[in-house]
Structure formats: C-alpha cells, structure tokens
C-alpha cells in the first residue's frame, strides 16, 4: 500500500472511531431515514394515493437525497472541529501524506452516506415501496447515488473549512436541505409557483432524483442520467479544487 493510502486509512479509522463514540449520533443518523419514510409514506402517502398514483414510490429518491444531505452535516462539523483545534498542527508537523487528513473525513462521509442509503431503502420497502428495477438498473442507481454522495461530501467539506462555528454549519446545511425540497423530490416541479419552478427544474438534485426514479420504476428517461452524472462530476471537480485551495490557504496562514 502506498504511504498516502496508508495514511488516509489511519485518518479514516480515526474519524470512524470518533463517530462510533457518540452512539446517540449514530442512532439518530440511522433512525432519521426510517422516520422520514414513515412520516411521508403513511401521512402524505394516504392523501396522494387517492389521486391514483403511488406516492411512496414517487417520493423514495427525494427522501434518499434528503437523508444523504442530512447526515453529511456531521462531516462539516468534524472537519471544522479538527481545523480549529491544535491537533491539526500536530498532524501538519508530522511526515504524513498531505492528502490524508481531508481524505480521512471524505472516506468516512462516503461510507456513512452509503449506509444511510441502504437504511433508507430498507425503510422504504417496509412502508410499501415496490420498484420494478432490474439488476442493471440498480447498478446505475447505485452509481448515480455514489457520485452524488461524493459531490455533496466535497461541498460539505468546504462548509466545514469556511464556517466560523457550529451555528454557521447548521445554517449552511439547512441551505442544502432547502435544495432537496425545491426539487422534483416531493412534488412534480410543474406544481410549483413560477420562480420556484424554474429553480427546481434547473438545480442539480432534480436530474439526480428524476434519473433514480425513472430507473426504479422503468419510466421513460430523456437524458436525465447523463445530466445527473455531469452535474455530480462537475460539482465534485469544482468543490474539490475549492476545498483543497481553502485548506492550503488556511494552513499557510
């Protein structure tokens, strides 16, 4: 194993140990998807069913995206905590691969979000989610979600680097949650007022949600997959460059 990989792995294990050390946070992260599914599925699902389409099937991609965003706030907080305490100075004065610190956080965020995804799918099945996707469809869904997770993680890392305190992080994470609502996740964008509709139709989460939904239920897709992939890769590249630059700037001060 190369030194950079080894060091990243050590940093990953450190982040993992720290995460597991607060059982409340872990439980909360795992319970939230379940609660969201039950809430939206049973409460609103009943109303929507009258109109003749299965609301639970409709809403699963939106909830998944939302759960991913919700759980990634923790990464911003842990990056911020490390950066604002003396421990980062110790790491920096050691002969450690330069990429190890951030990649430790990023790897953990990715693994955690994947687990959250699986939990959310499980909760969805419990409340009556019935997809018609085949094996290949599922592979593509997994691929899109992983790309989305990586993109959102790097954005969140920026939040952790620039935020002055925990409150600022809550604020920034809330902003992302607004994106999840103003998308095609919970209602077709056509039903939204004009300004919000334009926003919802053109923001990155909508193609991701549309692509995942289309693959799940075998409905017609018009380039949403490519659009989703392009958005995720684009965001990842930009966020990665910005995050690394901010990180370097912070350290040379």
């Amino acid at each position: 194993m190369s030194k950079a990989l080894k060091d990243s792995h050590i940093m990953f294990m450190r982040c993992l140990t720290k995460t597991l050390r607060s059982p409340e946070a872990v439980t909360m992260a795992l319970v939230v998807p379940l609660v969201m599914m039950v809430l939206f599925g049973f409460v609103f699902g009943g109303i929507a069913d009258i109109e003749g389409f299965n609301y639970i099937n409709f809403i699963v991609p939106g909830i998944i995206i939302q759960c991913i965003c919700n759980s990634s706030g923790a990464t911003a907080l842990s990056v911020h905590n490390d950066m604002s305490k003396g421990i980062i100075d110790r790491f920096r004065s050691m002969q450690i691969a330069k990429s190890a610190f951030l990649s430790g956080h990023v790897w953990l965020a990715i693994v955690r979000s994947m687990i959250i995804c699986i939990m959310t799918f499980a909760a969805a099945f419990i409340v009556g989610f019935r997809p018609s996707a085949g094996f290949l469809d599922w592979l593509v869904i997994a691929g899109i979600l992983v790309l989305f997770i990586i993109a959102i993680t790097w954005v969140i890392v920026i939040f952790g680097l620039i935020a002055s305190d925990g409150e600022a992080i809550s604020g920034l994470t809330f902003l992302i949650m607004i994106f999840t609502f103003l998308s095609s996740g919970f209602a077709p964008p056509e039903t939204l007022p004009r300004v919000l509709r334009v926003f919802a139709q053109n923001q990155p989460m909508t193609p991701v949600i549309d692509a995942v939904r289309g693959l799940m239920h075998g409905t017609q897709l018009n380039g949403e997959i490519m659009l989703a992939v392009a958005w995720c890769i684009g965001i990842t590249v930009v966020a990665f460059i910005v995050a690394v630059q901010i990180y370097k700037n912070k350290l040379t001060k």
């Binding site: 030194k3 080894k6 060091d7 050590i10 450190r14 140990t17 720290k18 050390r21 607060s22 305490k85 003396g86 421990i87 100075d89 110790r90 790491f91 920096r92 004065s93 050691m94 002969q95 450690i96 350290l251 040379t252 001060k253």
Partner: protein, 308 residues
C-alpha cells in the same frame, strides 16, 4: 561542534506587527536550548516557523541538515512538536491518541511504545478513558508523550510546563533532562527563568524581535554588571567607620548594614573584605547577593528598552 538546528536572520511580520526582526541562534546536537521571552515576544511564532507550520518572511533555518523552508517533508521526519496548547484528541482515549501517532509514524511496535509512555507519564490508570475527562495536567503530559513516540531527533516544546503543578513540573523536567541525555535535541520556550536555568544548556532571550542575549545560564548571569554584597556590622558605630574604608566603591549604608556594588569579580570581593578586616572592624555577617537569572533577564530587557 555539530549544530543540529541553525537559524539565521529569521524575520516574520504579521501585517504591520514585526514579530521577528532577525533572529539568529544555533543549537548543538543533544542539548537543551531555552528560548526565553515575555508574552507576545514571538516564541510561539519562532517555534511554528521551525516546525514548518508557518512561513517566515525571510532568513534561513536548517534542521538535521535539511532546509526548513524547502525540504519541509524531511524536516518533519526528524522533528516533533508540542505546541503551546494541547494537541490531543478529546474524543479518543489516551491510549488511542498515542497509538494514532505511532501508526502515523509507521512504527512496527507502536503499541509497545504506547504502553511505555503511558507508564512514563503516569497515565496507566486513565489510559482507556476519553481525554475529555482528563485534567489539564494530564492532557499536557499526554500531549508531550505524543511528541516522544518514535524517538524524534529534535523536539520542540512550547511552554511545556505551563499549567502543571510543582510536582508534575519537576517530573516533566526529569523527563526532558533524560531525553537530552539520550541524545535528543530539545528546543523549549518558557517564561520561567528557573526552568531555563535548571534545564537548559543554552539560553536565548527573545525581546523586541531579536535575540538580545544568549549563552549558558552562567554566562548570562555574568552579563549582569552588578554583583552586590552586603556587610552587616555589630553596631552603627562600626558601620559608620567601615564606610571610610570603602573609597572608590559605590554603596548604600543602613544602620547596621552596608550594601556594596561590585563587578562580581573575586578581586573586588577580596579587596573589600581585606580593607575592612585590616581596619579591625568585625563583620558579623556577609552575604553575596547572587544575581538571579531573573535580574539578568530584567536588566537585559531594561537596557535594550532604554537604549532604543
């Protein structure tokens, strides 16, 4: 003599605040070097530059033969830093903190080293508790132990004993002295003169952005221009008479005591005692006021202040 750290004409400003204006010093391998200065003198800045955390504006520095500014990775391989504020992970336990450093240094026997250092700093009982539950002193000791893992050649200790109780301070001194005996080079900063005096082979006083004085503790004491002696007499009559024999010296006389300023040399001391003895006056008590490093420090700082 082989110098493991060389620093020359180091300059660093934070905007208009010129913190280091040309710092020079060299540290022989295996010695303890104390950087002494009051609050805000720039000690931490100096240590951060040498430990590759902060970039200097100009000047040069080498550690273990590597250039601090261009060969940072090599420098990092032979140093270890204990910053002014504890750099420990609160969520992890003491043992996990030490293991983490051992693993990051890719040591094969890091678990063994962890146990050794836990014993050395007396943290065996609390080893598996989260650092968040530690007292300030326990954190500090853990922090320093984390710097010792992997036996680096050079250790920076920024105010290592600030916040320790007297007992732990002494044991920290022992640890530091032992490290130096084993060949580790130590650069420590401190505001405590007694600490520098007790531990350091060489002391440098950082003031107004430059090293205003450097040398061994003894040499620094000698820089004090005044060595004062006090002569005590049986009666005020003797005191008055004795003053007549002290021509050429500056002194202050009390009722039964005369304080004479000397250059601290044995010649002057013998001369004064001879003059009084030969006159037949009995000196009931003689004390030599050894200039403390504290005096030296204050005098040196004060003089620079005046000459500015």
């Amino acid at each position: 003599m082989e110098h493991i750290i060389t620093v020359s004409n180091l300059k660093k400003s934070f905007k208009a605040n010129h913190v280091l204006k040309g710092v020079d010093f060299n540290i022989p391998k295996g010695s303890i070097f104390a950087l002494l200065g009051s609050n805000g003198a720039g000690k931490t800045t100096c240590v951060r530059i040498l430990s590759t955390l902060t970039k200097a504006d100009s000047g040069s520095a080498t550690i273990c033969g590597y250039d601090v500014f261009s060969q940072t990775d090599d420098v990092r391989g032979c140093i270890s830093l204990t910053g002014q504020f504890a750099a420990v992970d609160e969520v992890l336990t003491g043992r996990e903190n030490l293991n983490l450093i051992g693993r990051l240094k890719h040591l094969g026997d890091y678990k063994k080293q962890t146990s050794e250092y836990l014993a050395a700093i007396g943290l065996e009982d609390a080893a598996d508790k989260q650092v968040a539950t530690y007292s300030g002193g326990m954190r500090r000791r853990l922090d320093i132990a984390m710097s010792l893992i992997g036996k680096p050649q050079v250790i920076f200790l920024d105010e290592p004993t600030t916040g320790l109780d007297p007992q732990n301070r002494i044991s920290m001194w022992d640890t530091i002295a032992k490290l130096a005996e084993e060949g580790t080079t130590i650069l420590l900063t401190t505001q405590y003169l007694e600490e520098a005096e007790y531990l350091a082979d060489n002391i440098a006083i950082l003031h107004n952005g430059i090293i205003t004085a450097k040398g061994t503790p003894e040499e620094l004491k000698k820089m004090l221009p005044i060595g004062e002696i006090a002569l005590e007499f049986m009666s005020s009559k003797d005191t008055a008479r004795a003053q007549g024999f002290l021509e050429g010296y500056s002194f202050t006389a009390g009722r039964k005591i005369i304080e004479v300023a000397t250059d601290g040399s044995a010649t002057q001391l013998a001369d004064i005692l001879n003059r009084i003895n030969n006159s037949g006056i009995t000196i009931s008590r003689f004390t030599q006021n050894q200039p403390s490093l504290e005096d030296a420090f204050l005098t040196l700082i004060g003089e620079k202040e005046r000459s500015r």
